[in-house]
Symmetry: C2
Subunit: 238 residues, 2 copies
DNA sequence: GCGCCCTCTTTTGTCTTAGAAAATATGCCG
DNA sequence: CGGCATATTTTCTAAGACAAAAGAGGGCGC
């Protein structure tokens, strides 16, 4: 069972939501299955019904469960899970997800990030360009061996998403960034790979600066495909 | 103010969530702003604190608000709103969103649906192909002037997303489908446009059947760009 | 007068108890 | 045996009390 116990975060209902959420995405409760009734779970987790119900509302809002009087509460089919909820993605990351999970995630990334680079090249404002440049500078300055390597990389990509001036692009980025961070850490990408990726990042920046949307898209495509290969290699090696 | 009153749905906390959610995405409460404290809102909406708090948890789960003791509850910045939550998209649709909203939504659609068609052509199972075919048949049989015109269209696209065997693609589709339905209705696309779009849909189906991913992608691209033009025209006409 | 600590106040967080409403299961009656 | 009323289970809503977080302000020492 996915167990979050011991380290209860700030407030109880979040802890309960995270405990139950992890169980669900981890497969401890299967879709279609009815989970025990509220009082039973209250006893198991030693929380009040108020807190449990607040946690249930969180899970319901994310599409994981549905409750009805007399029938109880059951796990919804996976297609209703809101996969672009950052919290759900975190629960996935923590549950040692199947390789397909990360494959699918990367597939999505390879779909929308090149398009984002293309859009950014067309629509970015001067201020947004500066932010992208600053993010790139941060990558160059990142201390190897620290988390900066990963966070600055993600920051660079987020800056591009922001520069699309498309709210949905931004939302996608916000959603998956923490899952990506987890993936980067997990695959413990070697420093060499990071250094080798710098020219690719620079090329994207240059293309966006020049307003060359075709090149921006192509460069992003190239970057992501080599990055994915590297990740695959590193994960398999474990 | 976005007002959902009168027609309270099944349960109270959902009604409260939807009332407050509409106010937020409708701009009645601005990001960064603190909303009145719990007791005040309870009195205004004439609900118990229990229900209000359950509604708050829903809104918190969707990234719209955040609460802290003593400080109160405030609206989060838009970048934290989970734009791919179907419920949030519904609240948007109901609040007469800006044209940019639908432009951005369509921009996203033009990014991931061609990619989905491409993937589906590569990965679809025979069963999934049958479902796509059935959805197309439903389009051909749809009674003009009814909602079938819209729902069968959306069903066709959902079937393709399913056929990608990528959970994230499916989730994107589930999220935006009801917003699309609203958009279709709102733009009251003329029947001629629908009839003219049938060959394009058929072409996509044929390409997926043949496993021709390049053509599937190209056809989807073509379909979406003409569809977007039509929508623009119809919306402007109002 | 200035800075630090302690207390006070406000607001959300948690628990408890009680009863209402929904929806199935049961059993009585014709 | 069928249909209707009743019982039962579970979530839903309400209300009241206290705990905990986190500023705000006042008093004290220097």
């Amino acid at each position: 069972m996915a167990n979050q116990a011991n380290n209860r975060p700030q407030n109880i209902h979040n802890w309960v939501a995270s405990e139950l959420g992890s169980r669900i995405v981890g497969g401890f409760y299967a879709p279609g299955e009815y989970i025990p009734n509220e009082n039973t779970i209250c006893e198991e987790l030693e929380v009040s019904r108020t807190s449990l119900r607040e946690a249930f509302k969180v899970l319901t809002a994310k599409g994981l469960i549905e409750s009805r009087p007399k029938l109880g509460t059951r796990i919804r089919e996976r297609r209703h899970w809101n996969m672009f909820d950052p919290v759900i993605l975190n629960w996935f990351s923590q549950s040692k997800p199947s390789p397909e999970f990360y494959t699918s995630l990367y597939e999505i990334r390879e779909v929308f990030e090149p398009a984002a680079a293309e859009l950014a090249a067309k629509k970015r404002t001067p201020e947004q360009l500066e932010i992208i440049e600053a993010a790139y500078a941060k990558m160059e300055a990142a201390q190897l061996g620290t988390d900066e390597v990963y966070t600055s990389d993600i920051e660079f990509h987020m800056a591009i998403l922001d520069a699309t001036n498309n709210e949905f692009m931004v939302s996608l980025g916000v959603s998956i960034q923490s899952a990506l961070l987890e993936l980067f850490r997990l695959s413990s990408t070697i420093q060499d790979d990071f250094l080798q990726s710098l020219p690719g990042h620079k090329a994207i920046y240059t293309a966006i600066e020049a307003g060359d949307s075709v090149r921006a898209k192509a460069e992003m495509n190239k970057l992501l495909s080599t990055s994915q290969e590297t990740l695959k290699k590193n994960i398999e090696r474990e």
